[in-house]
């Protein structure tokens, strides 16, 4: 059976014998975001998983704070914080198996870190010494992607390739609410559904694309409603409920792994900080809106659940914080060292072998650098 002969493909037959191949009903998202914490579903959640999520959320929050602090100290060129969105970042990383792939955007360094990428390497792009600081194959994390939504077709292609090779690999791709407006979002989801590729799309709907609120981005009932137009299931989840996001993503990953094809997940969350340290969010949203979301903080939500159910005690909370502090201290210490740069790297990786032209240019730069060192330059 080729990938084309699978379920879900939409074949026309002449009216009046019209028969849609796919029943749209199961593809439509629920009317309200799915929640676990504070609901009956929480009782069924694995306590070990909840504790793991909690530890990572606390680490993640601290990581965000530390990275933002590093921008103030001039140690990072820019930082797009995921403060407030840690539940999505953490759950995305934990929903995957080791052999799976994660496709992060520029805002998702935290997900990469949770997946095992060294935080210093995850931040290399944003520090500015190179475009990617880690080997994507080491932890199966694609390079952080800046051009919005362009990473989504990559995830589809990789998942498709893995499947063609017979490998058990799922790709999870992250994108923002703003990114869903790009043509690449559309094309990626369509390819994924037609190919029934094992890929999961997680839209972190944090309410804004820089200054532009969701109301100017889409008129859809929800972003998850876009799924039916591709013939894949759409799921809507409370993006601040780490247990819910994890469950929905884990389900989608399982579904993809079993050959069921792609899923679109919209996680409703909120960007608590400005777009990046360079942004001034006072220009486009009232403090009161930000404040309202504090009541729905992902860490507080999970901590409340864990505490109420006696799954964590004060010492557990302290341990999580200490662990987070250790991460921050290590990050601070290492980011405070100047990276060692070699300008000759500029030419080394443009092609497998530098072209004759690049070799000439490298010679020119070498000569300039030598002259500079010897003080003989102009």
């Amino acid at each position: 059976m080729t990938v084309m002969e699978q379920r879900g493909a939409y074949r026309p037959s002449p009216p009046p014998a019209w028969q849609p191949r796919t029943d749209p009903a199961p593809l439509l998202p629920d009317a309200a975001p799915y929640r676990v914490l504070g609901t009956e579903a929480a009782a069924k959640a694995d306590p070990e998983l909840l504790r793991r999520l909690y530890t990572q959320l606390v680490r993640g929050r601290r990581y965000n704070a530390q990275a933002t602090a590093l921008t103030k100290q001039g140690r990072l060129a820019v930082y797009p914080s995921s403060t407030g969105q840690e539940a999505c970042e953490v759950a995305a990383a934990l929903a995957l198996q080791d052999r799976d792939w994660l496709f992060p955007s520029y805002r998702d360094t935290l997900a990469a870190v949770v997946r095992g990428v060294d935080p210093v390497q995850a931040l290399t792009l944003l520090r500015g010494d190179w475009h990617t600081g880690y080997d994507p194959y080491a932890h199966r994390v694609a390079p952080l992607c800046t051009p919005l939504a362009t990473q989504l077709p990559h995830a589809v292609g990789l998942a498709h390739a893995a499947r063609l090779k017979g490998d058990d690999v799922v790709a999870l791709a992250l994108v923002g609410d703003g990114g869903t407006s790009e043509g690449d979002f559309h094309e990626a989801l369509n390819f994924a559904a037609v190919w029934q590729a094992p890929v999961v799309f997680l839209v972190q709907n944090n309410g804004f694309a820089i200054s532009v609120p969701l109301a100017k981005q889409t008129a859809a009932p929800s972003l998850a409603h876009k799924a039916v137009g591709y013939g894949m299931p759409g799921r809507l989840v409370d993006g601040n409920d780490a247990a819910a996001v994890h469950e929905v993503l884990a389900d989608a990953v399982r579904h993809a792994r079993a050959g069921g094809g792609p899923t679109l997940v919209e996680a409703v969350t909120y960007r608590m900080e400005a777009h990046t340290n360079a942004d001034d969010d006072k220009r486009y949203r009232p403090d009161s809106e930000v404040e309202a979301w504090r009541d729905h903080d992902p860490i507080a939500l999970l901590e409340r659940e864990l505490t109420e159910r006696g799954l964590i005690d004060e010492s557990g909370i302290v341990r999580a914080r200490e662990d987070a502090e250790a991460l921050a201290a290590d990050l601070r210490a290492r980011m405070n060292q100047d990276p060692v740069l070699d300008p000759r790297d500029l030419f080394a990786h443009v092609y497998a072998e530098p072209t004759p032209q690049l070799r000439e240019q490298q010679d020119q730069l070498n000569a300039e650098l030598q002259a500079e060192q010897e003080g003989t330059h102009r």
Partner: protein, 334 residues
């Protein structure tokens, strides 16, 4: 009689003023793009326009560059004069099909009945410490697309004047804004701003006799600096600011090169397949017997734009320009 104060202003301020004056002068002018409304643009160039003219005249669009330019095409078809902002150079790429296949061709396609007076503002170039995709010099793509005008200011006054001229033009204009000059200041009189018309005239920014530096946009100040530094080595350099890459001002450029007999083209964009090749070739075609040396090029390397910590090695600086001037075969001089 009131005396008008000539005060220092930034290029960003002059651009804002140009947009505002154009919108006030013509209700057909609409500004659109990502974050151009409430936020005033990530470089604040559209600051205050939504407040003054309303969201329908200065519109935060959905996040989709092809959609922005594509809808602007439709708006222009209906008689509006859209001024589109692409947030950064590299984020104009998704709009290339609309640009190449429609914006540049609609007038020609319809034998002139359907002109598209669209201005496409593209912040471009490096030197601002931007991370990947925030520092591209994409002018070669625009230059290779017939049907577009391509202009770029290097001074505060030109920023105003060229942007007004671009918006007033009945042809599509790609308006390249040198990012690292946004906060450069010049004495400028906002109460007596001049438009720069017609589009297509270069200007001699500094007269000199030894050789001509042909440049534009972000490299103009660098060339002026190089020209100052060159005095120490006995070279009196002329600096031509092209201002318009399309149409190209052969007259001004060639007059200068014929005078000096030597030329270096300077730009940030990669050298191979970049604007400098065209410029050097056409100058040589026209001034061959006046040339004492081949027209040389000082350009960015032929590499993807480097990360911020390495960009200083990539950008054409004073030293590299002077090195090129030194290679202009002065021995041949009698």
């Amino acid at each position: 009689m009131t005396t008008v104060a000539v005060k220092p202003a930034t290029m960003a301020q002059a651009l804002t003023r140009a947009l505002r004056d154009a919108m006030a002068a013509d209700p057909a002018v609409h500004v659109m793009g990502e974050d151009v409304g409430t936020l005033g643009g990530v470089f604040r160039v559209t600051d205050g326009l939504a407040k003054e003219f309303g969201d329908d005249r200065c519109t935060d669009t959905p996040l989709a560059e092809a959609g922005i330019l594509g809808t602007a095409v439709g708006m222009a078809m209906y008689g509006l004069r859209p001024v589109v902002e692409m947030q950064f150079d590299a984020f104009a790429y998704p709009a290339f099909e609309q640009l190449i296949s429609h914006v540049s061709r609609m007038r020609n396609r319809t034998r002139g009945t359907m002109p598209l007076p669209i201005t496409i503002r593209v912040p471009y170039g490096g030197g601002i410490g931007g991370v990947e995709h925030h520092s591209d010099s994409s002018e070669a793509y625009y230059m290779a697309t017939p049907g577009l005008h391509v202009v770029t200011p290097a001074t505060v006054a030109d920023a105003y004047g060229l942007l007004r001229a671009a918006i007033a033009s009945d042809d599509p204009v790609v308006f390249l804004e040198p990012k690292r000059l946004y906060w450069s200041k010049d004495a400028w009189n906002p109460d007596d701003p001049q438009t720069v018309e017609p589009i297509g005239r270069a200007v001699v920014r500094r007269s000199g006799r030894s050789a001509t530096l042909i440049t534009y946009g972000p490299s103009v100040p660098v060339c002026l600096e190089a020209a100052e530094a060159a005095r120490a080595e006995g070279w009196d350099l002329e600096v031509v600011d092209l201002r318009s890459l399309v149409p190209f001002d052969d007259e001004t450029v060639c007059a200068s090169v014929r005078r000096t007999g030597r030329a270096v083209v300077v730009h940030e964009s990669g050298g191979f397949g970049g604007p400098g090749g065209e410029i050097a070739a056409r100058v040589t075609e026209r001034c061959f017997h006046h040339l004492e040396a081949p027209v040389l090029r000082v350009a960015g390397f032929d590499i993807p734009y480097p990360p911020p910590m390495l960009e200083k090695h990539h950008l054409p600086g004073v030293d590299r320009i002077l090195d090129a001037v030194a290679r202009l075969q002065w021995e041949a001089e009698s």
